[in-house]
């Protein structure tokens, strides 16, 4: 194993050992918190809104053919 991999493994093991600290707490009757804001998920009308920057988004694509993003072939010829 290379030196870098060994260090990586050592560090990762240290984290996992450190995380075990949480197992010492009794959380059986505790509800999880996924975020702290006490609001309900907002819903809005399903209306079309114009997005004016499509060309600017396409400019960031690594490879374009006309206005389509090109990726390596994903289908096999029959």
């Amino acid at each position: 194993m290379r030196k870098r991999q060994k260090l990586w493994l050592k560090n990762s093991q240290e984290f996992l050992d450190y995380f075990k600290k949480l197992q010492t707490l009794d959380t059986e009757k505790v509800n999880p918190t996924f975020h702290t804001l006490r609001i309900k998920t907002p819903f809005r009308e399903d209306e079309i809104k114009e997005f004016p920057y499509i060309e600017d988004i396409l400019k960031n694509a690594p490879q374009l053919f006309e206005r389509m993003i090109v990726v390596p072939k994903v289908v096999k010829a029959p």
Binding site: K21, L22, L25, A61, P62
Partner: protein
């Protein structure tokens, strides 16, 4: 031409000078650009400086000022952390994977600042994708602390804090996921605030850990910080976690409450353990002075010691999900490959840095079927306990005072090879993000090595005005100007 001494200038004082036509925005921007040319080769706070754009906007601002137009930031040069989108400018997140990315739209905070006439002088350095506490994880270069160039400016918003401290722009915006505004503010001797989660829209902020990320301001004074927060806060339908609340007038509130007495809690857990003795002494001296006016008592936040472990499970789990979008398909770096799968793998392997990969792997591990309950779910439950600690404390006290960091700024390279030690340095800032509370860092003194020391004010949800108000009182009590030696030489 007016002589501008940037050391004496704040946003509010510059606005006054602009209004009185004692200086022009062009002169102010030119002086700030000169400062960048003088200081930034040493500090390296900026990833991108928009000299041409800033000068153009300054001329426009001067025309509007001549016409008597009044806007809250008309003609004021500020910087923006490079994970917040400004249309037409690069947003790299200090990552090779976004090296050539040009923002196609403005973040909501940028729209708001533009509407008030702010000038964006450049984008500031950060730890890659805001993952780090020292800015050493930037894929491009490390930022140096203007108080001591051999030391880190903190992170992840180290570029923003160092830029403001070096007077390279009068204010800045950063993002705070586990302390990324407050810790660099503390290390660089400026004011930095993480608002309540939901007060400021995250639309256009590149996501790291969505339930923890929050954009916030840096300023040279509490007034400047409150003023910037006023402009960027408020409900935004584009961010589903943006709170539909009325934003108070922060500046008015802090001035009206200059003499208000608060019930303040000192969490026992934040003042014990391995904390730098000299720093603690400076903080306790300030607390002693505050006792004549405020009711101060010791409180308990018993789950503090579990915060770092909780955070470093939850934040990487969310990052693992958020960073899946960087696959080389639609934008960002794409590696040459023969198949789509190979392209995904190579683009990510070559595009992401070491720390980002580490966190993606920790997140993947914590969320995997066999470990979900023991790691992610467990951490989410402990998060509830940490939140409850604060909610209980705020039944007894109005605000909490604590250190921001266990030590003054550390040396570049000192902790980078020991990531766990680096993570543990966030112990006093992380619980505030886990609980979604507002927190601010204010400089209160200097160590014998001439390094800044700061104190943190923490408040209940959406009591940001009280946090600012106590910070304002502390700033008056301290009555010091924090000018790094690099500016005096």
């Amino acid at each position: 031409m007016a002589i501008i001494d940037l050391k004496d200038l704040t946003i509010l004082s510059a606005l006054k000078l602009l209004k009185e036509k004692k200086i022009s925005s062009k002169e102010l921007v030119e002086e700030s650009l000169k400062q960048i040319k003088r200081i930034d080769p040493l500090v390296k706070a900026y990833l991108y400086v928009d000299e041409e754009g800033a000068l153009k906007e300054a001329s426009k601002a001067d025309e509007l000022i001549q016409k008597g137009e009044e806007k809250k930031l008309l003609g004021i040069p500020i910087s923006i952390k490079d994970n917040i989108c400004i249309k037409g400018l690069p947003t790299t997140c200090a990552s090779k994977i976004l090296q050539n990315f040009i923002s196609p739209y403005d973040a909501t905070v940028i729209e708001k600042l533009k509407a008030e006439g702010a000038i964006f002088i450049g984008k500031t350095n950060l730890d890659e994708f805001a993952m780090g506490s020292s800015t050493e994880n930037s894929a491009f270069f490390s930022t140096h602390n203007p108080w001591d160039l051999e030391r880190v400016p903190g992170g992840s918003s180290g570029g923003s804090a160092a830029a403001v401290a070096s007077r390279m722009g009068l204010g800045s915006l950063g993002s705070d996921t586990g302390g990324s505004i407050r810790q660099p503010a503390a290390f660089c001797g400026v004011v930095g605030m993480k608002p309540t989660y939901g007060l400021v829209s995250r639309f256009g902020l590149v996501a790291f850990a969505s339930s923890l990320d929050q954009i916030g301001p840096f300023g040279l004074t509490v007034e400047d910080t409150a003023y910037l927060l006023q402009i960027i806060a408020g409900h935004d339908p584009k961010d589903s976690t943006s709170a539909p609340i009325d934003v108070p007038d922060f500046l008015k509130s802090i001035r009206e409450n200059e003499k208000t007495s608060y019930k303040i809690g000192l969490p026992k857990e934040y003042f014990e353990g391995e904390i730098d003795a000299e720093m603690t002494k400076i903080i306790l001296e300030i607390i002693e002075k505050l006792k004549s006016k405020h009711h101060i008592k010791e409180i308990n936040l018993p789950h503090t010691e579990y915060a770092v472990a909780t955070y470093y499970i939850i934040a990487p789990s969310e990052a693992f999900s958020n960073l899946a979008r960087y696959d080389g398909v639609k934008y960002g770096f794409r590696a040459e490959a023969k198949s789509l799968i190979e392209m995904y793998k190579k683009s990510r392997a070559l595009g992401f840095g070491k720390e980002v990969k580490r966190r993606i792997m920790l997140g993947a591990y914590s969320l995997s079927a066999g470990y979900y309950d023991a790691f992610y779910l467990k951490a989410s439950k402990v998060r509830t306990l940490i939140l409850q600690d604060f909610l209980e404390a705020f039944k007894e006290v109005d605000l909490i005072l604590a250190p921001v960091t266990p030590t003054p700024p550390f040396k570049i390279g000192e902790k980078i090879s020991d990531p766990l030690q680096m993570y543990l340095s966030d112990i006093f800032t992380i619980p505030v993000n886990l609980a979604g509370l507002p927190g601010i860092s204010i400089p209160v003194g200097l160590t014998s090595n001439n390094l800044p020391v700061a104190i943190q004010v923490i408040g209940p949800h959406f009591k940001d005005e009280h946090v600012l108000s106590l910070a304002y009182q502390i700033e008056k009590e301290v009555n010091m100007k924090f000018i790094p030696p690099i500016l005096r030489d």
